[in-house]
């Protein structure tokens, strides 16, 4: 339950950013209801505002949410034996927070109703905070000049910094940062995806060269 409060700033942001980027209230809410992925939603809104095309937004979404592949892989022993509708339902609700709370159970101790409860709690909280953000974004003028875009930076920086513990990650972050500023300065449409992939590639190459494990 307290963890669902942690999604509050994100939800508010997702709602108000959608309005800021000239999406309609329904489109903003639709993003939260259908996509249900914080980082991907904020980035898509940001890219939409920056005039990125459909393909580059989808590719970024794919890359940004690729950690879910790893979650799925980890939950596979527990969930792949469940009936189809449970797999579909819990699959849709498989978020970072859901994974954090349910991945410690094995096949014996896993309770699908508990998992459903956790997932739905996050889903409802996320959509309520999005709605609040949409209402705020509509009623407070010039919300876009408040520098709300910094809250993305603040969140991501706070998430990245503790990960930077070894040389490959340092290389990955450095290459990605340099390329993203450079490519954006050159007005490349695929600046973010290209620099993200280059950073990932550089980190991976460095890891291979130094023979370290992840």
């Amino acid at each position: 339950m307290p963890l669902s409060l942690a999604v509050a700033p994100w939800g508010l942001l997702a709602g108000s950013m959608a309005i800021e980027a000239n999406l309609s209230a329904w489109e903003g809410q639709g993003l939260s209801a259908i996509v249900f992925a914080g980082a991907a939603q904020l980035v898509a809104i940001g890219m939409l505002k920056g005039g990125a095309n459909l393909f580059s937004i989808l590719l970024t979404t794919l890359l940004l949410t690729s950690q879910h592949l790893l979650y799925g892989l980890t939950m596979r022993p527990v969930l792949s034996g469940q009936p189809l509708r449970w797999r579909l339902g819990l699959g849709f609700l498989l978020t970072d927070e859901f994974f954090a709370l349910t991945s410690r159970y094995d096949r014996q101790t896993f309770n699908r109703w508990y998992a459903l409860g956790v997932g739905l709690t996050f889903y409802v909280a996320w959509n309520l905070f999005t709605l609040a953000g949409i209402l705020l974004g509509r009623n407070i003028p010039h919300l876009d000049r408040l520098g709300l875009d910094f809250s993305i930076v603040a969140t991501f920086v706070a998430l990245i910094a503790p990960l930077v513990r070894n040389l490959p990650t340092v290389v990955c972050v450095a290459v990605s940062l340099l390329c993203s500023v450079l490519f954006s300065y050159w007005h490349w449409e695929t600046a973010l995806v290209a620099s993200g992939l280059l950073g990932m590639g550089a980190g991976f190459a460095c890891q291979k060269l130094t023979g370290g494990r992840s």
Binding site: Q67, G72, L88, F92, G147, V153, A154, G196, L197
Partner: protein
């Protein structure tokens, strides 16, 4: 166009989540693929932050009085000290807004 994007994104995210829950899918990710994906969070998130920090309003700002840069440094310091993502995020946002009204 926006709705097409929303549904397409929903589909992409859902397929990512569901892919390995499907019992008929026999494969496992190779160790290389998994290591590469392991860099997705730092690599992609950094790429998103870079232009917001150094190109506010689409103009290059490499000065040390750039509030986005100072705010980010504060966030890095706080999260390394406190290990609390939420606290660092809120505190650095507060400092960012103070700095911004000060420096501009």
């Amino acid at each position: 166009m926006t709705w097409l994007l929303i549904f397409a994104m929903g589909l992409v995210v859902f397929l990512n989540r569901y892919a390995f829950l499907e019992p008929r899918l026999p494969l496992r990710l190779s160790s290389n693929a998994r290591q590469f994906l392991g860099f997705a969070v730092p690599g992609m998130l950094t790429a998103i932050c870079g232009p917001i920090i150094f190109l506010p309003g689409h103009e290059l700002d490499l000065s040390l009085t750039n509030p986005y840069l100072l705010g980010s440094l504060v966030a890095i310091g706080l999260v390394l000290l406190t290990r609390s993502v939420l606290l660092s995020m809120l505190a650095s946002m507060l400092i960012f807004f103070v700095l911004r009204s000060w420096l501009t």
